[in-house]
Amino acid sequence: MGKKKKNVADKVRGKKKDSVQKVNPFEVKINKQKHAVLGRKISKHDRGMPGLSRSKGIKKRKETLLQEYKQRHKSNKFVDKRIGEHDASLSLEEKMMKRFAKERVREKGNKFSLNDAEEELTHYGQSLSQIEKFEEPEISDDDDEEDADKGRISGSLVTKEHFGGFLEDSNYEGLGNKQSWKERMEELITKTRKERHERQMEKEKAREETEKLDSEWKDLVQLMMGSKVCDDISNFVEEKEESSSEKPKVDDYDVAVRELKFEMKGKASDRLKTEEEIAKEEKERLEKLERERQNRMRGISEDDTKTHKKVHFSADDLNDGFAVDDDFREPFVANYKDGKLDEDDDSEDEDDEEEEEEGDNEEDNNSDEDGDEEKDDVEEADDGNEEDENEEDENEDDSDDDSYDDLASDKSDGEEDETEEKEVNAKTKSTDGKDMNQKKKDIIEAAKKELPYTFKAPESYDDLLELLHTHSDDDQMIIIARIRKCHHVSLAEGNREKLEVFFSCLLQYYCDLALQLPPKLTLMDKLVPHLYELTQGSPVTAAQSVVDQITERREEFQQICDRKGGRGQYPALDTLLLLKLVVILFPTSDFRHSVTTPAHIFITQMLSQCPVRNERDIAAGLFLSSLCLEYVTLSKRFIPECTNFLHGLLFLASQKSKKLEAVIPPFKPVGKNNDLLVVNKDSKDISIEKLCMSKVLSTDLDRNELSNNKFRICAINTVVVLLKEFIALYKTLPSCREIFLPFVTMVKKLPVIKYPSQLQVSVPSCREIFLPFVTMVKKLPVIKYPSQLQVSVPSCREIFSPFVSMVKKLPVIKYPSKLQTAVKDLQRDLEETICQTRRPVVMKQNKPKPLKTFEPKIEEVFDDKKKRKGQSKELNERQKMQHKYKKELKGAMREIRKDTQFLARQQLGEQMEKDAERKRKVKEIYQMLATQEGDFKAMKRAKKS
């Protein structure tokens, strides 16, 4: 064994010698860096050994390529199967060792070998190898330093157990017989563990007690200290008493002084705001909101506006996207704040808009203030409700009623009577007889008196229905208001969630009201403010539930579509009113909005996929078109589906000639429903009325109820009004001519003469608004405008152009004279829009690049990497892969080139060798010949001589 160890040591020493390889300084080539840059990673290629790597390459080629080259004409192959022959990691010696070991193993398999098993060394009859396993004393892992030795096995144990216990003269053998060695060791371990545990427990106990004592001691000390002071004072007082025997009277003045001293100083309170200031604040708030809305409309997010503000190019800018610190910039930007920042591009445009907006805002303000006041009133009233007695409660209800009625009267122009009648009708319908009705009324009144003040927030729709279904409309409103009051967000945690659930239930209720017969529109009308305020409280969940409702309805619609081969059916009133609610709750002017965008997609889908089969379809389509108008009034966006639909309606109203008209699906040039809106007899006496939602849109309509001239005239009127609005909206669009051109011809075909005169009067107003605008546009020096506006003005004609032909075809003569003039005006409007001029499309010019300066570019955190510009992830990845591919390709080509070089060299060598051989042989032959010749001549000479 000793010999072996020596060998190992030698090996180690030898290895060390090898590792300290001396590098030949002449072999190293250093790639010099021109500039040392801090923080740059030192590249791998800073130094290299070209000679070495070349020789390595050659060696490798000799092993692989050369072998192949030599084998190229051979079909047989010599395979080397020696152990470790192809393993480069093994040294020669190791290889030999392995082979030897393998050989030995084979030999071991020999049965008859006598000395195959190695002798096992034993001590006291045990093999030493096993004992060795427990040589290390067991040390617990969590012992502290202080009791490090405590954790150890006690000395007696050691003497007993270690080395088989031969250190002590104990009766070991007897013990060993009773228990196996393993058992004994386990026992030992458990014992030591137990001990340790006990020790720990003791320590813990001691610590606790000392802590307890400590705290007690502290209390005691405090007490003592207090008593000492008290004692001192009392002593002092006693002494005084003794000396003066009279108590000092507390002076009022002193008291006052002390009081003043400790009195809280009055804080400066905010000045009460004057009304103007409040109004101003309100105005500013609204303006801010309006500005945000405008931004959203253009699709600019807040982050964008922020970043956008930073973009200011100094003359010294490098145009490398690098800007000086924000703090430094701030005061500079402040000058530009009033929205005039992008003056260079479209300032005038903005200005115009702003003026308009301001006007709007002022109006808004007024109205909003009114609204707020009213809201306050309502709230006060509600507060009062909570406090007042039951009887008063009823009065309050009445007052509430009144206010709502007022509102209703605003809208419905004295159609109250009708509504009341309707309600009464509904009631009578719902109950069977008059007696029942009376009974029910009694019950309702009783319930009214018992209306509780607090309600549990409904957790499901059924709960809500249970709460509401027995009560009258007004009571329902009160209940809803109270639920909202009771669960105001500020009152308790979790109220927000409750209100969110409440909102979704209320929304469901709103939709279901529309499905009742007759639809309870007034109640829905009253529900709207509540829904609105609930939305304000938690916009996101409200949006989600509205989206869910819309999705559900759209899926239904889609199913119908799929069943009927892509043709839909106009939905019931609930869907229509749900979409109307969207306009009220959410801003439709946003560029992209999680509720309104799906909503208008749904609307357009219905408009473009539902064929018009009857009057109800026309009404529903008109409802959706008015919705479209409302969606885009602020943003002035273009909805082709809607104009298509209106065009189609004009087509339905026009008198068809034999020539087929170009109409856009879902309308067909030929069909039985194409005369739905043609006024078939002179109806100048018919008065024009607004369409009534509950009548026109209900699904259980009698087919023939609407197929009269009155409905037709009303529908045509609606179409004309909508069209005028759309024209006003779209006249700024570049191709409004193309859009509305078909309408013109259609309008011309309307039988206007049959229309009532009301229609004739209503339109000129629109025309007057429209006319100056057109002339104004022509006067304005267009070139001064920013490019966007320039192009936007002149080309609305494309949009309008299809309308022109359609309008011309309307059988106007049959219409009442009012409608007649309206139609004529529309026609004139259309033709005027078509006469606008426009400029060709020009791309925005890129800003000229500023000259570069020598201002240093400073990066706060410099990491020496080329920054890829903010491209999409996909593009970046693509570039990376391309780079990698290029690198790999280059490497592969280099390798191939080197291979061919190597082969050429090899072939050259072979050729040279061959040549040399040949030369040598030739020389040899010559030599031989020369000697022969020499011999021959010598012989000749010898003969001669």
Partner: protein
């Protein structure tokens, strides 16, 4: 009593069939008498199926009579066989009658039974074969087919059952042969729509194997001997007949629905198997000139002819130009149309005026297109302009200072060369920058800046519909929702409300 006997027939053991021969006669009469009761009819069919398959396979129907033998000379055995043969032909007649029954099960069962007879006869023929070793029972099969391709009743569903046999080479041969003669007979007269429908659905079934070989070997009947029936075994002959049948068929005036069906499958299932696809060029050019959906569908076949078979079609692009009309977005084959149109306009050798005309026309259409259409048209236009830098003037005309009173482009002009599209500009795209759909608006805003060089892949956009647009907007959970800031007072009457102009609540 009679009915029970029929029902018993269902479970006849094979060896006892002879005993039932008398009953067969009985059943025959019965089935002819009681034609209305479907259950009985079904039972009869099953009985026939069992009995006669047995007879055919045991060659009991095989009757070999030398020529000119009088009836009196026949042996008893021969008489029996003759009688059986008689019965067999009446059974076939009955079954063929059944194929036009009102009951679906009866129809299908009778057809299946007949086809089983054909199959069995193909293995063990019932007549003595001549030197030409063709085993196929051509006469029986012809009878069946003439029943199927009926003049009066629509049998398309029944023909659909044929599909399982359509693979066999001999079936294909005889079907083609039959159709050829049938069409020949109708050449002068105008056949009924029902007849054409039936014929087409039969013709539709015919398919050629994927891997084509010169000779056919996949037979329903016993394989004919080598060189026995050269026409039947050569694929070339099959194709020749196939071409003839198709050409004859297309010569007739087809009803509109059938026309579409034909055009949809023509380029995929028919063209590759014709001897010369150019034979279809007349038909295709005619249908291309019809306009509407039909020319849309003819486009595909025509393209293959132009592309692969060197068809020279001078007015191709003019016709294509005419196909771009507002209804194109609402047709069923919209995706296919735009795919093909993109394919046709890929070439960079097209003249600039042509491409500009297409771009302008598409833009013009976009003004009335539904949202999902715009997701295709706008990238389409971009791609066109990208491929043809000359057309960039449509988007960028920097040097003109004059305003244009009217669009120089003539939308009504049918000839793309004369429509002056190159003098125009794409104001339509500018208009669409204000489109309500945010994606469309964004896409159109690209024209304000120099266009990106790379093509926009259209494949994913072709099939977009309202559903996809809607799902794209709603699939994400709402994380942020801005709300209105002016308090409503009810359904109507709020700030931006235009409803009150036309609507009242009650």
């Amino acid at each position: 009593m009679k009915i029970t006997s029929i029902i018993e027939l269902k479970g006849i053991p094979e060896n006892a069939i002879r005993i039932f021969v008398t009953r067969t006669r009985f059943v025959l009469e019965y089935s002819l008498l009681l034609n209305e009761e479907p259950t009985i009819q079904l039972a009869c069919i099953k009985a026939f199926h069992k009995i006669f398959l047995h007879f055919i396979s045991t060659e009991e129907l095989l009757l070999t009579l030398p020529e000119g033998v009088a009836d009196e000379d026949l042996t008893k055995e021969e008489k029996y066989k003759q009688w059986l043969n008689d019965k067999y032909s009446t059974v076939i007649d009955i079954l063929i009658q059944f194929t036009s029954s009102d009951n679906k099960a009866v129809r299908e069962h009778s057809l299946c039974t007949l086809m089983k007879f054909v199959q069995q006869e193909g293995q063990t023929p019932i007549t003595k074969l001549r030197d030409r070793q063709v085993y196929f029972p051509a006469k029986l099969f012809e009878k069946i087919l003439s029943a199927l391709v009926s003049d009066t009743t629509d049998k398309q569903d029944l023909i659909g059952r044929f599909l399982e046999y359509a693979d066999y080479d001999d079936i294909r041969y005889y079907v083609l042969k039959f159709l050829l003669s049938s069409l020949k007979s109708k050449q002068q007269a105008t056949p009924s729509d029902v007849y054409l429908n039936n014929l087409f659905s039969l013709l539709e079934q015919i398919s050629f194997p994927q891997i084509e070989q010169d000779t056919c070997t996949h037979f329903l009947s016993k394989c004919p001997e080598e060189g026995a029936a050269p026409k039947m075994t050569s694929t070339k002959e099959h194709k020749k007949m196939f071409s003839h049948v198709w050409l004859d068929f297309l010569r007739h005036k087809l009803p509109a629905s059938l026309y579409k069906r034909v055009l949809v499958m023509l380029h995929e299932k028919v063209m590759p198997h014709l001897t010369s696809p150019l034979l279809l060029s007349d038909f295709l050019t005619q249908s291309y000139e019809i306009g509407g959906a039909i020319s849309l569908l003819a486009l595909n076949g025509l393209f293959i002819l132009v592309h692969k078979y060197n068809l020279d079609y001078p007015d191709f692009y003019e016709k294509l130009y005419a196909l771009f009309e507002p209804s194109v977005f609402h047709v069923k084959y919209r995706a296919r149309f735009f795919f093909l149109a993109d394919l046709f306009l890929t070439s960079s050798h097209l003249p600039a005026y042509l491409v500009a005309a297409f771009a302008k026309r598409l833009a013009h259409l976009s003004l009335t297109a539904p949202q999902f259409g715009l997701t295709v048209t706008v990238p389409f236009i971009y791609n066109l302009i990208n491929r043809h830098p000359n057309c960039k003037v449509l988007l960028h005309r920097p040097n003109s200072t004059t305003e244009v009173a009217e669009d120089p482009y003539l939308p009504e002009e049918p000839d793309p060369a004369k429509c002056q599209a190159l003098q125009s500009s794409l104001w339509e795209l500018q208009t669409l920058q204000n489109h309500i759909n945010p994606d469309v608006a964004r896409m159109c805003q690209r024209i304000d800046h120099p266009l990106q060089k790379d093509e926009i892949p259209l494949q994913d956009l072709l099939e977009t519909s309202y559903t996809e647009l809607f799902e794209k907007e709603t699939k994400k959970k709402v994380k942020h929702a801005s709300v209105n800031f002016d308090l409503p007072r009810g359904l109507l009457n709020h700030k931006s409300d235009r409803f009150a102009m036309c609507w009242t609540l009650t």
